[in-house]
Amino acid sequence: MSWPNISDIVGQACDGVTTARQNVEKSLQIIEEKNPDYNAVVSVCKERALERADYIDSLVKQGKNPGRLAGVTFIAKDNYLVFGSETTASSNMLKGFSAPYQSTAVERLEAEGAICVAKANMDAFAHGGSTENSDFGVTKNPFDSTKVAGGSSGGSAASVALGMVPFALGTDTGGSIRQPASYCGVVGLKPTYGLVSRSGVVAMASSTDVLGPITNNIDDCSIVLDVMSGKDPLDSTSVERDKEAYSILDLGLSGKKIGVISEYFTEGLDSTVRSEVEKTIEILRAKGADIVDIKIPSLPLALAVYYVIVPAELSSNLSRHDGQRYQYSDSTARNLDESYELSRSKGFGAEAKRRIMIGTHVLSSGYYDAYYKKAQTVRTKLINEFNEAFGSVDFLVGPVAPTTAFKIGELVNDPLQMYLMDVMTVAANLVGIPAISIPCGKANGMPVGFQIMTKQKNDRALLAISKSLELELTK
């Protein structure tokens, strides 16, 4: 069961061909049918969604403008603060948490008539690449239920692939939008750092966390970004958006300067994935793009940099979960200190604790310079190399992940191997640049994603080239 393009859904709602209520009911029905098999969703916002739908329908009836996303249903990753359901980041630590305010991104989407119908499963606190770290069970891949949907935004990607909603929201700290989008055969955009306000989203690593849409196609992705993006007084790291709409794009591939990242085409890349990605590069070349090989020598260091900076920042961000102010609190503790320790030990899962331990170590006295400061300095080296590359090409391309979706349970006992799956996505987060995953084919029946990156604040051009490529891929 699929959805029309978002602009058509809005058109139909405004013309009275369908109603917002019908859209919400359709989403809820598909969730009810499919979620028991795939576990893409951890909770539904049924009551509030229906109320909002009736409100949108009443605006239409009164001849008022119901907004650019009127009656369009969506699913937010469970780390977005949203009214109408719990916000748990799929962790027992936040079980039962009722958001006292909403994330800016969701507020902006609602102001244009979009309706959140459910919360998507994720790796708890977004720690992971498979949703196997969710405290509420793994999300299964829509193309093969013995395989993972990817992560950490695995529920979001699966929910779009399963047709529950036309779009879902994800967060991407090191690939958590792009990798599940790649595994589930949908579009996933990680915008420029700061383009979408982080206010009201459970923080992971503040210097690399980015919010973005997961959709069926680039048009839908563009219109959702257009609504979500822009500076927000509640997030001082947010940046000004482009004045032009993200949804009106200058198409064409001819003459575009595109660099193929050599470091991503090594022996670690699965041959079937490689073949699909190379076919896509040939399409770009055939349509007149100027393709060159680009070397980014520090790229093999990106994952090591990432696994210093991110645990450091998340161990700091997670210190707020102390069992005193909200949600999980151990009742057996005899004093305050024990209450902190017991609440955190029981509330956090194994992966959060592992990362808190690493982060605490790399930030601890005597190690800070050797690990954290060193990693942030190698980060500068990486940024310089990307900037140099963008001096000669407009876009960089490559795979999203070294393989297609892996089997559930295959990597759970090997944290480092699991971390290595992020090797092609983390650089964009460290450099703050926009990057997108576009479905480009299948390898042994499983979707393969094609990654395109560009320089900071060039998100419009990224969407334009993505749309141009999509037109060729769907011919």
């Binding site: 090591a304 210093v308 005193q324 060193k374 500068t380």
Partner: protein
Amino acid sequence: MANKLTREQIVSLARLARLKIDDEEVSKYQSELSVILDYIDMLDNIDVSGLEPTYQVTGLQNVFREDVVQKQPTDAGKLLSLTPSKQDRYIKVKRMI
């Protein structure tokens, strides 16, 4: 494993992070953290002379705003309703010692 942390180091880290861990977990973290720290070691010999660390990736510094009183959209009662233990308008915690 070049970076094998001692049991004492693991216990001390857990204490700093306010995590209570048992003996079995100490052993588990000893090996898991060592594998990851060994991987991170590849940064050791990278020449970064003349480079400064990047803490903010879009180059923002000191984002100021006017110091004016703003009405908060979230009321205190709603926030307090989330606390595990409270008395009147105060969050109640266990005794300190």
